[in-house]
């Protein structure tokens, strides 16, 4: 009788200890798994939300509005944009300002950015933004033409562009003070041969350009690069 009760006590304590330790650990493991699954679902959801929004850009070509379609052209490639007249929102972007406009306000060759979804290789736009077709180039100044406030640049591939500086052009020069680099307002006379420049301009179409009017010019003086070369 004694032996039986001793065996029973050993068994009970053994089962109790195993179940307590096992359950605690499996609870921790389950919590971890739940967290992992949550993280996985959340990252996959974010990825699919990102991929749900698609974008197409190009110059506007009006088509029969009864079809609820229009065309965007860029670099000789054309894409048909489908839309629902009731759902489509159209905006005009100027700098950081956005203003809602009507679809009928759009003009031929306006540069448009269409956000929407691509379904079965067909693009369906829900939001349209009209803005300037901004392009940014860089190069080395080869020649400064003071008579008409322009300069000739050449890029790494040998392409030459004449850049006109207008009154409205934002001219900035990079300077260094105590290892701090900053932009400073500049005048045309600050541009010198062999300076590097980065310039921003609007392009009315996608064709290659050889002369532009700059919206912004950033001058990287040759002396600054030489100084950096010596110091580093």
């Amino acid at each position: 009788m004694r032996v039986v009760s001793v065996i029973l006590i050993i068994l009970m304590v053994f089962i109790f200890a195993v179940s307590v330790l096992g359950q605690t650990d499996s609870a921790v493991t389950d919590d971890k798994k739940v967290e992992e699954i949550k993280e996985r679902i959340s990252s996959q959801l974010n990825a699919s939300l990102d991929s749900a929004v698609d974008v197409e850009t190009g110059f506007f070509v009006r088509q029969d509005e009864a079809d609820n379609k229009f065309e965007l052209n860029y670099n000789d490639s054309k894409i048909i944009i489908n839309y629902d007249a009731e759902l489509l929102k159209v905006y005009n972007v100027s700098g950081s300002k956005t203003e809602e406009i009507d679809f009928s306000d759009l003009n031929e060759k306006d540069y448009l950015v269409a956000f929407g979804n691509k379904l079965d290789n067909e693009f369906h736009a829900l939001n349209l933004y009209r803005q300037n077709n901004e392009r940014i180039h860089n190069g080395t100044v080869m020649e400064v033409r003071k008579d008409d406030s322009s300069f000739l640049t050449i890029d790494e591939l040998g392409n030459q562009i004449v850049v006109s500086v207008l009154r409205s052009t934002d001219l900035q020069i990079i300077s260094e003070d105590d290892n701090e680099f900053r932009f400073q307002k500049a005048v045309f006379s600050k541009i010198k041969e062999n300076d590097r420049v980065v310039f921003r301009f609007y392009a009315s179409d996608s064709a290659n350009i050889d002369a532009v009017s700059a919206e912004e010019v950033i001058i990287v003086p040759q002396e600054l690069l030489e100084q950096l070369h010596i110091n580093n």
């Binding site: 050993i10 109790f16 991929s51 972007v93 680099f181 900053r182 690069l225």
Partner: protein, 149 residues
């Protein structure tokens, strides 16, 4: 309580604790293997879903953000651009709405760019400090879409 019962309690506790620990350790081992599998699956999915440029042996500026043909869609007004730069140099970043300059060392570098709605044309130029001051550059389009579809 007599001697046998105390002995039974002590023995049961020791054997029970030993078995419990064994069960716990083997569970952890299994969970570690499962986590590794999940991580591998997520890594593989990322490789399939996003195009990230290869960093290895590059002599160019590498954009580490997920992008397709240098096109990025952002739903936030500020975008954190992550770059890997092969050499030291003067970095100039220009966009429609922002411009930034910094002297940078080779390696990973990130920069916050302010965006305007719709298309943001971004030019990243690195003026290297070699004898010819050669230029490395990257053109990007970041589309800021403030609404949800």
């Amino acid at each position: 309580m007599n001697k046998e019962k105390i002995f039974a309690l002590v023995l049961g506790t020791i054997v029970g604790l030993g078995m419990g620990l064994f069960v716990m350790l083997s569970n952890r081992q299994t969970s570690r293997v499962e986590t590794k599998d999940i991580e591998q699956k997520i890594f593989n999915n990322q490789k399939l879903s996003g195009t990230t440029e290869t960093v290895a042996e590059s002599v160019d500026i590498v954009v580490n953000n997920k992008n397709v043909n240098n096109k990025i869609i952002s739903q936030k007004q500020t975008y954190n651009l992550k770059l890997t730069l092969p050499v030291d140099g003067l970095l100039v970043v220009v966009s429609n709405y922002d411009r930034q300059v910094a002297f940078v060392k080779s390696g990973e570098f990130d920069i916050d760019i302010n965006l305007t709605p719709a298309e943001n044309t971004v030019k990243v130029v690195l003026y290297t400090l070699n004898n010819t001051f050669s230029v490395l550059q990257k053109d990007l389009k970041i589309y800021y879409f403030p609404e949800k579809l």
